[in-house]
Symmetry: C2
Subunit: 445 residues, 2 copies
C-alpha cells in the first residue's frame, strides 16, 4: 500500500486532501495529514477510512523523520522557509517531495544529492507558480516543434472575485491571498524586456503602466508588471524573445485607483504612525497638503482627479473618507491601509473567488508573424473550495498520483516545465474543469 504524507492542513489543503482521498479509494492508498494541530487535520479528512491525522512539527526532527520514512511521497504545504528541512529528511530516506513554492537557493543546492538518491524534489507545482509554467510550456514546446520561434511572451495571473460576488464592489477585488503582500505589492523596481531591451518601471509608475487583457467569455482586465520578468527567459528557454513580461491581473480601473494610494504614500511599510483615536479620513489627511476643504475634495484636486470619477468612487466605497475610527493604536501606513481595506475586502462565507490567467505568445514561422492567446478562468465553488484552493491543490494532487504510479522519471530539484509533467497534469486538470481557452490570429489583428 502506497502512503502519501500531506504536511499542513490549513485553508488551501482541502481540495488537495479531497483529491487524494478520492484517488486513495480507487487505488488503496493511505493519506496521512500532519499538522501542528492534529484536530485540523482530522476535520479535513472528514472521517475517511483511507485517512490518518497526526500531529506534525518539523522542529521535532526524529519524529518527522519517522513519519517521512514511512511515506512514499510527501506534499508540503508548510510555510516556504520550512520546505528545505522537509527536503533534507526526504533525501535521508529516499522519499519524493512536492511543493507549490518557489525554488529557494537552499532548495536548489540539494539538486545533485537528490539525483544521487533517485529522488524528485518538485517545486512550483501549484497555480502561480505552477499552472502558469505548465500551460506556457505546453504552448511554447508546440510552437517550437512546429518549426516556429517564440518572439514575445506576456503572462498575467490574478486572484479576483467571481462576477456574482459582492456586485457593488467597484474594485471587483477582495483579499483572497495574503493581504499584506497585496498592500505592499510592487515596491521596488520592476524589470522586463521590451523591443529587445531590459526596461525598468519604478513603483511610482507601476500602476499607471498597465497591459490591457481580454479573456474571451470573461471580459476585460488589466495587468501590472511583477518584480523580475527576465528570469523566465532561462526557465522557459526563450532565447529569441524581444518582449518578456510577467505580471498580476486586476479588473479594469483597479490599478488607476491603487495608483492614488501609492501616490499618497499610504502603502509605505517602513515607518510607524501613532493612529490612536484617528478616523479613516484623519489617516488620509496626514498625507495631504493642508487647507480648509474636506480631505476628499483636496485629494481629488491635488491629484487632478474628477471628484465623481472612478478612482475617487473606489476610495469612497472603501471608506477612506469616513469618520469611522481606524481601531488600531499604531501601525505602518501599509498596516493601517490593510486594516481599513479589510473592513470591506475580507472574504465572507458566501463569497466566491475567481482565478484568471492569460498568456500571449508572439510567434514567427517561415518569416510570418502571428499571435497566440491562451486563457483560464476558474471560479470557486464556495468559501472553502475556493478557486485558489482548487488551482493550487489539484496540480499538487495530480503530480502526487503520477509519481506514485511511476509515471514521472524526472529526478533532482525540478519545476514542471517538462512534457512528462505538464502533459498529464494539464490533461487531468481539464477533467476538473480547469481548461485553457486558446485563440490564434495573424500578428497585429
Amino acid at each position: 500500500m502506497k502512503t502519501v504524507l500531506v504536511l499542513g492542513a490549513g485553508r488551501s489543503a482541502s481540495v488537495l486532501i479531497n483529491y487524494l482521498l478520492s484517488q486513495a479509494a480507487k487505488r488503496q492508498w493511505k493519506v496521512i495529514v500532519g499538522d501542528l494541530e492534529p484536530e485540523l487535520a482530522r476535520q479535513k479528512l472528514g472521517g475517511s477510512s483511507y485517512g490518518e491525522a497526526i500531529a506534525f512539527n518539523i522542529a521535532d526532527i526524529p519524529a518527522s523523520a519517522r513519519v517521512i520514512a514511512g511515506s512514499d511521497v510527501v506534499v508540503s504545504l508548510l510555510p516556504p522557509h520550512l520546505h528545505v528541512a522537509v527536503a533534507r529528511l526526504c533525501l535521508d530516506h529516499g522519499r519524493h517531495l512536492i511543493t507549490a513554492s518557489y525554488v529557494s537557493p537552499d532548495m536548489r543546492r540539494l539538486h545533485r544529492q537528490a539525483i544521487e538518491k533517485n529522488v524528485l524534489l518538485l517545486n512550483e507545482c501549484g497555480l502561480d507558480p505552477g499552472i502558469d509554467h505548465m500551460s506556457a510550456m505546453e504552448v511554447i514546446h508546440r510552437i517550437q516543434q512546429e518549426g516556429g520561434r517564440v518572439t514575445s511572451f506576456e503572462s498575467f495571473t490574478g486572484g479576483l472575485i467571481a462576477p456574482d460576488t459582492d456586485p457593488e464592489n467597484p474594485w471587483r477585488y477582495k483579499f483572497t491571498w495574503n493581504p499584506r503582500n497585496v498592500v505592499t505589492a510592487g515596491q521596488g523596481t520592476a524589470r522586463y524586456l521590451e523591443a529587445g531591451k531590459v526596461r525598468f518601471i519604478p513603483y511610482t509608475q507601476l500602476f499607471r503602466r498597465v497591459t490591457p487583457v481580454h479573456v474571451p467569455g470573461y471580459g476585460h482586465y488589466e495587468g501590472y508588471a511583477n518584480r523580475d520578468s527576465l528570469q523566465y527567459k532561462e526557465a522557459y528557454g526563450l532565447n529569441s524573445v524581444h518582449t518578456l513580461l510577467r505580471g498580476t491581473l486586476r479588473s479594469p480601473g483597479f490599478c488607476a485607483a491603487w495608483h492614488v494610494l501609492v501616490q499618497l504614500g499610504v502603502c509605505d511599510d517602513s515607518y510607524t504612525i501613532n493612529c490612536e483615536g484617528l478616523s479613516h479620513c484623519d489617516f488620509i489627511e496626514l498625507f495631504l497638503p493642508y487647507d480648509a476643504r474636506p480631505a476628499e475634495e483636496r485629494l481629488a484636486a491635488w491629484l487632478d482627479l474628477p471628484l465623481q470619477g472612478p478612482e475617487m468612487q473606489r476610495l469612497r466605497w472603501s471608506g477612506f473618507f469616513s469618520s469611522e475610527p481606524i481601531g488600531l493604536t499604531q501601525g505602518t501606513p501599509a498596516q493601517i491601509t490593510e486594516h481599513i481595506l479589510n473592513k470591506r475586502w475580507a472574504l465572507r462565507p458566501e463569497d466566491k473567488d475567481m482565478i484568471v490567467m492569460w498568456h500571449r505568445f508572439g510567434v514567427e514561422k517561415n518569416g510570418v508573424q502571428s499571435e497566440i492567446q491562451s486563457s483560464l478562468a476558474v471560479t470557486g465553488t464556495d468559501s472553502v473550495h475556493t478557486a485558489m484552493a482548487k488551482t493550487v491543490g489539484l496540480p499538487l494532487g495530480i503530480a502526487t498520483r503520477l509519481l506514485l504510479e511511476g509515471q514521472i522519471k524526472t529526478r533532482g530539484v525540478a519545476i514542471p516545465v517538462q512534457a512528462e509533467l505538464y502533459h498529464p497534469i494539464l490533461n487531468d486538470l481539464k477533467t476538473h474543469g480547469i481548461a485553457f481557452h486558446e485563440t490564434a490570429k495573424p500578428y497585429g489583428q
Copy 2:
C-alpha cells in the same frame, strides 16, 4: 601662546584657515593644520609664520593624542564618523573641540564626561547646521523676551549658484556639495507639523509640494521639506508651534523638473544597471513605455508635460536626450544620473556659488498675530573662497576665537543655540558681510 589645531585641509578649510591666521597675527596664536597629506595643509597655510603643517592620521592614536594634547582648541573638518575618536582624545587631554557636523548618538554620550572635564564639545557650528540654529534662535529668543509666542516656524537653506554664474543654466544650480546626496535627496518620507498635526510627504510627492519663498533683493525661490522637521521642536524649545517645516531651497522650477526625474525612477540607488555603450537618451529610454516616437516626445506625453515647457527644457539642457555616450560601464540609476548631470553641473573655476537661507516665524503677542521673515544671501568670491566655505568656515573660526579668549562658559556636548554663542558669532559674521535681513508684518499680509 595659544595653539589651534585644524584637522583636515580639504576644500572647505581655506576660509577657516585664513580667518585663524589673520587672528593669529593679532594675538600671537599658532595655527597647526593636520591632514593625511601634509603638503595640502602646507598649501592652505600659504607660508604664514603663524602656521605649521603636519601629517595627521586619527588611526595613529598615540601621535594624534600628542598633537591634541599640545593644542588649546581643536577644529575637526574630518569626515563626520571620525569626530568621536577626536572627541575622546580631547576629553583625555582636557581640550575643546568644534565641528560643523550633526551631533551623533556616540557624541551625545560624551556629554557628562565633557562637563566633568570642563571641556566644550561644540557641534553643528557651520552653515546648516550652524548659522541656521544661531539666526533662528536669535529671533525666537527676542520674540519670547518681548512677551510673544512663536506659533509657526519654517526654514529653508540652499546652496545655489550666483545670478551671474552660468546665466544660461535654467536650473540655476550646480553641484556645490556632495553630488550623490543631491541626486538621492528626499528618498524616504518627510515628516513635518502643519495645523497642529504631524504630516507625511512620500518621496513621490516631495518635489510637488513646494513652499514659495521670496528673499528681498534676491528674488523668488521654492523650498521642499527635509526628512524630519519635528526634531527642531525640542532643539529650539518651540513648544507652542502648530507649524514646523525645515527644508531645502531651490530656484523656481527646479523642483518641478526634478519631480520628472523622480517619476522616471532615475534617482533610484538600490540596483545596478549595465550601461556600457548606452547614450544619455538610451538611459532615459529604459524607463519609458516603448513606442516609435523619440524618447523626448514620449516622456513629455507620458507625464503630460508641454514639449517646450520648463521641465522638458531643463532636462534637454542637461543633455538627457543626447546621443552622447554615458561613459560608465555600470552603475545604479542614481549614479548614472549623477554622472550625466555632472557634465553640466560641475563647478568651473570661474563659477561663484551662492548660499540662501530663509526663516519665517509666526508670532502671537497679546492676541495679535504677526509674521517675521529673516533671510541671508552670501555669494562666493571665487571657486576657492566659495560662499559654502565662508559660511561653514567663519562660524567655526569665530567660535574658536571666542573660546580661546575665554568668552564661552558653556561646557559639555552643545550646539550653538545659546545667546553666549550665537550673539558674538552672528555679530562677527556681519563684519564679514554675512548678515540677515529681517522684515516684520501683520499676519497674512
